[in-house]
């Protein structure tokens, strides 16, 4: 009896370790799709696209699936970048991922765009400041550190001015690597605040400025091993900013 249970558990683990994950990222100016099996990326595709997320995503998913040589029936989980990012763009990926997971009847794994940027950096002793352009002079950001080889988010994700973000890195006083399209866009503003104050600081280059589905697949695989996933129905985007109408309403009601 005990033996049988052990075998079942072992089989279940085997299934997860080779689980094929379809990974989708449309939260920023990039659209990317990857299919990975936990150890390897089987196929991936990426493009820069300001507005055409909805036009390209479906065909990109189809292309990547065919390149990977898998059928949709082989997919064990769907991963998606839940933001923060550009509202309309990110919803295209999220709505697609949720629909696919529902039809395939597989779990969905959501990761934030900030988590994806931080994971892409890999092992470092620096503080990683992930900064995504929120437009209107604001950024979405969060700070990360590698502790015992594990990435840890050390501040809650938030939307604020870039100055506020830079000031928070000064607060920690450690060498800092700034990553993301927000960091690059506001590089001068950040430098103005942190130069001569932080022991050392650096900016990741353009290649690492956007979250990608390949890195997301890596995060998703780790979470799948721990069964940190959810049903498609319950996954919600991470906007970090209320709709303008709600902000205005709150301001008007308060005054």
């Amino acid at each position: 009896m005990g033996n049988a249970v052990g075998q079942i558990a072992c089989v279940a683990f085997e299934l997860v370790s080779i689980m094929i994950i379809l990974s989708i990222d449309t939260a920023t100016d990039g659209v990317s799709v990857a299919i990975a099996d936990g150890t390897r990326v089987l196929a991936s595709s990426e493009m820069r696209s300001e507005k055409q997320h909805a036009e390209v995503l479906t065909t990109m998913i189809d292309f990547v699936r065919k390149q990977a040589g898998v059928s949709f029936g082989d997919v064990g989980a769907v991963a998606v970048d839940i933001g923060p990012g550009l509202f309309t763009g990110m919803r295209v990926g999220i709505a697609s991922a949720k629909a696919i997971a529902q039809v395939l009847d597989v779990p969905i794994i959501g990761a934030t765009s900030l988590d994806i940027l931080a994971t892409a950096v890999g092992e470092t002793d620096d503080v990683i400041a992930c900064v995504i352009d929120a437009r209107r002079g604001e950024v979405y950001w969060s700070l990360y550190r590698c502790i015992d080889g594990k990435l840890r988010q050390v501040t809650a994700p938030q939307a604020s001015t870039v100055e506020e973000c830079a000031l928070q890195t000064i607060d920690r006083g450690q060498s800092t690597l700034f990553v993301g399209n927000g960091a690059l866009r506001y590089r001068n503003e950040i430098e103005l605040v942190v130069a001569g104050v932080l022991p050392r600081f650096d900016f990741a280059d353009e290649m690492a400025a956007l979250p990608t589905a390949v890195v997301l697949a890596q995060i998703a695989h780790e979470r799948a091993l721990r069964q940190e996933w959810q049903e498609a129905d319950t996954l919600v985007p991470e906007y970090l900013r209320l709709p303008d109408a709600e902000i205005n309403w709150a301001t008007r009601s308060a005054s």
Partner: protein
């Protein structure tokens, strides 16, 4: 694949403030139709807020699709095609439905059909009464549109008259807001007008005698001016007189349009088609002239996905599937 009377279509609608999914067989047989309305979310803003609508669509979409599938009794693998509204509408809202629909179609390896929301409204009336005789005049009156459409056959239509400013539903909403009757304005005015005198105030009937176009912006302004000059006037009388003016114009133009095209059938569509005075007036007009009137049920007047699936079926049969590269077209016209 051949498409026929047994083709089953999943329809998805997210162009404005209703998240809807439906399963329809052969263009007219509604197996399920689920609508999650966001009216409460937008009520305090006095109109639909695009970003709030888009967010609500993402949260409701899966549950609405799940309910539509389960209520239809058709397993999702048995769906033959997926149709979604691609426009006109709010871009962010449309994209949620288009992305979901294309994804469902992709995974099921079935065709996707991009549907014009206005064309779908033409088909809404036919869902309850599919065997109409053409030519048919469709009076499409909603918050976003006021169109007189000549329909010569399936997929063969042209707009022969429209509003040059506000849509009829927009006029209802604006006047209701001014009179503090709440949002949406149509049902609110309809309700209070029952207790008022429609002849109390003689509001203007703009463009009554020119062509088939209409205008409601001046009417709205004269309602506002009248109430400001006569602050003690009965709200019910204002509502009833305003509603009478709108319906009077719509019915007169509908009569003229139907005569012009030699209509056999007249159909109403859109949210304002739920207005009780418009329905009764059009019933009289059509009875006098010998046109058959098709009145959609209340649930088919307002936005729903059954009409999307239905219009999708006719499009699929006529033109085949849409490209998977199709995005949203917020300013799509009825052509």
């Amino acid at each position: 694949m051949l498409f026929s009377e047994s083709t089953v279509i999943l329809g998805i609608e997210t162009s404005c403030d209703e998240t809807a999914a439906a399963v329809v067989m052969g263009g007219n047989d509604v197996l399920s139709s689920v609508v999650a309305t966001q009216i409460d979310l937008h009520a305090r803003y006095g109109g639909v807020v695009p970003e709030i609508a888009s967010r609500a669509h993402v949260e409701a979409m899966n549950v609405v699709i799940r309910q539509a599938i389960s209520q239809s009794g058709v397993p999702i693998e048995r769906i033959d095609a997926v149709a979604a509204t691609v426009g006109p509408g709010l871009i962010g809202a449309l994209l949620v439905g288009v992305a979901a629909a294309k994804s469902v179609a992709l995974v099921l390896d079935k065709p996707f059909i991009g549907v014009n929301h206005l064309e779908a409204h033409l088909y809404a009336a036919l869902l309850d009464d599919p065997h109409v005789e053409f030519p048919m005049l469709v009076v499409l009156v909603s918050g976003g549109n006021t169109l007189f459409v000549e329909m010569r056959g399936h997929g063969d239509f042209s707009v022969i008259g429209q509003t040059i400013d506000d849509a009829a539903g927009e006029a209802f909403d604006k006047v209701a807001r001014f009179l503090d009757l709440g949002h949406p304005g149509g049902p609110a005015i309809d309700r209070i007008a029952l207790t008022g005198n429609p002849n109390a105030i003689d509001f203007p009937r703009a463009m009554l005698h020119d062509g088939l176009d209409v205008s409601f912006s001046g009417l709205k302004t004269s309602v506002i001016n009248y109430v400001r000059k006569n602050p003690t006037v009965s709200t019910a009388d204002v509502a009833a007189s305003f509603q009478y003016a709108v319906v009077d114009v719509l019915a007169a133009k509908a009569r003229k349009a139907a005569q012009q095209i030699g209509a056999k059938t007249v159909a109403l569509g859109g949210g304002v088609a739920a207005n009780s005075l418009l329905r009764s007036t059009m019933t009289t007009v059509c009875a006098e002239s010998g046109w058959r009137l098709v009145l959609p049920s209340m649930s088919m007047c307002t936005d729903n996905a059954a009409m999307i699936a239905s219009a999708g079926w006719y499009r699929l049969v006529a033109d085949g599937p849409s490209s998977m590269d199709m995005g949203a077209m917020p300013n799509l016209k009825l052509t």
